[in-house]
């Protein structure tokens, strides 16, 4: 075998799969979004009609779509700063000592991130339960009335965000800790010899050096919140009355519960464009940041 062909031989299996399920779907979504494809069309392609941009027009006139977009925006606005801020505080705290005790503490923060969402969402559903749940019991102990955690249209948004923040922190703590370990110790020692306080060292030396990691964490967290799905799906199915339906959940419901593939594809193309725009804007901002 000649080396040149060998290169292709090594990459071909993975590339075929990656293109089939990573790149091709974008093209398929764009095409399907211009048709009225539904369950009937799935079995018999002759029943699919080309309807141009009707799906997009219908989508933009759909109140449920805008409700899901609004919810997703709210989730991201509340969730992203909470996750990034808390992850940074926890990572800085965990990094303040290398003792065995601190190492052991790390695991506790990581665990929610690696366990199955379905399992943890069920546990949270149990804790949130209005009849025999723990949270309302704790509130009653301090004389507060019970809270309808998952059945009130306003409260439910914050309940699902709470669970997602709890789960989202672990991964970012790992990334930030890895970055913190790359901060050269000599810088901090030099600063402390010069009399800089711990806080001063953190603000003036550590945070600037963490810029890339913080940028990475922020951008991946934003994308994760735009794709927010699991928590509302398992905890509330998007209810009550769509109050916790994210855009991903909306797409799932249209695509797989209602089998409106064309309509749902139009929605996923819109989601793709939104995520692409946000990513490009962030990358631009990052470039400007490096240039100064």
């Amino acid at each position: 075998m000649r080396p040149r062909l060998t290169g292709y031989a090594f990459i071909t299996p993975a590339m075929l799969l990656l293109i089939t399920f990573g790149v091709l779907p974008i093209a398929v979504a764009m095409i399907v979004s211009l048709t009225d494809m539904n369950l009937a069309g799935l079995g018999d392609w002759s029943r699919i009609r080309f309807i141009g941009t009707d799906n997009y027009a219908a989508l933009f006139a759909d109140r449920a779509f805008w409700q899901a977009m609004g919810n997703t925006a709210l989730f991201a606005i509340v969730g992203v700063p909470s996750v990034v801020g808390l992850s940074l505080l926890i990572a800085l705290g965990l990094n303040s000592s290398q003792s065995r005790f601190f190492r052991a503490l790390r695991s506790f923060y990581f665990v929610p991130a690696i366990t199955a969402i379905v399992a943890v969402a069920l546990v949270w559903g149990y804790l949130f339960n209005t009849q025999f749940g723990l949270f309302n019991h704790l509130l009653s102990l301090v004389g507060l009335p019970p809270v309808p955690w998952l059945s009130d249209p306003v409260v439910v948004k914050f309940s699902v965000v709470w669970v997602a923040v709890w789960r989202g922190i672990g991964l970012n703590v790992i990334i930030l800790l890895a970055a913190l370990q790359g901060v050269p110790r000599e810088y901090l020692e030099a600063a402390s010899i010069d009399g800089a306080s711990r806080l001063r060292q953190t603000v003036s030396i550590v945070l600037p050096l963490l810029r890339f990691a913080l940028f990475f964490v922020t951008i991946t967290t934003i994308i994760a919140w735009l794709q927010f799905f699991d928590e509302p799906f398992v905890l509330t199915k998007g209810g009550p009355l769509g109050a916790s339906t994210s855009i991903s959940l909306f797409l799932y419901q249209k695509g797989f519960s209602a089998s409106q593939f064309g309509y749902a594809s139009a929605g996923s193309v819109v989601l793709f464009v939104v995520i692409a725009v946000i990513t490009v804007v962030q990358l631009r901002a990052r470039r400007a940041d490096v240039d100064y």
């Binding site: 090594f10 979504a29 991903s248 695509g255």
Partner: protein
């Protein structure tokens, strides 16, 4: 004495004790739902719906674990989940091969193809979900284990990580093996893979976790109950929340405990993996 030992013996600052205490409280709060789950899984029904709720079970029972396997089909879901994890490990080899191809061979179109790999890292799963379903439906692979596994086999991120790592393997080693007459696949399996130990370990752990926990995709593609994975089976127990929380907690425990074991054993590699990905 190593540097970490010197650090450990240094006088502990009072600030660190306060930080440690705050972090410890946070850690207990973070882990609390898991404690609740594990204790909840051995409560008899009357205790699990009792008010006020108690953390510790008074009369622990394992009847719900038995029920999961005897009355419900969780044995089958467990086998399906393990099969998916096994298939994903095959995918890992394909991704390692691709990483090696990109790292150590020059061929026309390589950079363009690698750019494609990077692009796929940015495309959200929910965008590809419906088209992937349509593609698999076109191939008659819905409702098959292969159909569940295929889209999960490769990820751009893993190919990227493998490539980054394998670029650091010296060309001389590979050349020497070639001189000795070793075939290309033999070089890959016998030399390159063993030299990629650290990155391989990370990816095996992450692949295990991802395969074990996979939820949305198996939910979409498997309508046949015989193909359900643990997470899909578990989500169907959701309807019983009002009636039998203990059964759900038992099933949740079944899903979470193996991951906890894998994590505790391999957590060193997980942290290392993120350090390796160039974020330090």
């Amino acid at each position: 004495m190593s540097t970490t030992e010197i650090r450990r013996r240094r006088r502990v600052r009072p600030g660190v004790i306060v930080i440690g205490a705050v972090l410890a409280v946070g850690a207990v709060l973070t882990a609390f739902p898991f404690l609740w789950m594990i204790f909840g899984s051995v409560k008899p029904r009357s205790e699990s719906v009792a008010y006020p709720p108690q953390l510790l079970p008074q009369e622990p029972t394992f009847e719900y674990f038995v029920e999961l396997f005897v009355k419900l089909d969780f044995g089958r879901y467990l086998v399906n989940t393990l099969l998916i994890v096994a298939i994903c490990m095959v995918g890992l080899l394909l991704m390692a091969a691709a990483g090696y191809g990109f790292a150590k061979f020059a061929f026309p179109g390589r950079d363009a193809l690698f750019f494609l790999v990077l692009v796929t890292m940015m495309i959200p799963g929910q965008v590809t979900m419906i088209p992937s379903y349509l593609i698999l439906n076109g191939l008659d692979l819905t409702n098959t284990l292969i159909g569940i596994a295929l889209p999960m086999l490769v990820s751009g991120f893993s190919v990227f990580l493998f490539r980054q790592f394998m670029t650091t393997i010296p060309d001389e080693v590979i050349e020497a093996a070639r001189m000795d007459g070793a075939g290309e696949w033999r070089i890959f399996l016998r030399i390159v893979l063993p030299m990629s130990g650290p990155i391989l370990a990370v990816q095996v752990v992450l692949t295990f976790i991802a395969g074990w926990n996979s939820f949305l995709w198996p939910l979409i593609i498997a309508n046949d109950q015989r193909l359900y994975t643990l997470s899909v089976g578990l989500s169907l127990l959701n309807q019983q929340i009002a009636t039998n929380p203990a059964l759900q907690m038992a099933a949740s425990t079944l899903m979470v405990v193996p991951i906890l074991v894998v994590f505790v054993v391999f957590q060193r590699y997980i942290v290392q993996g993120f350090a390796l990905s160039g974020l330090k």
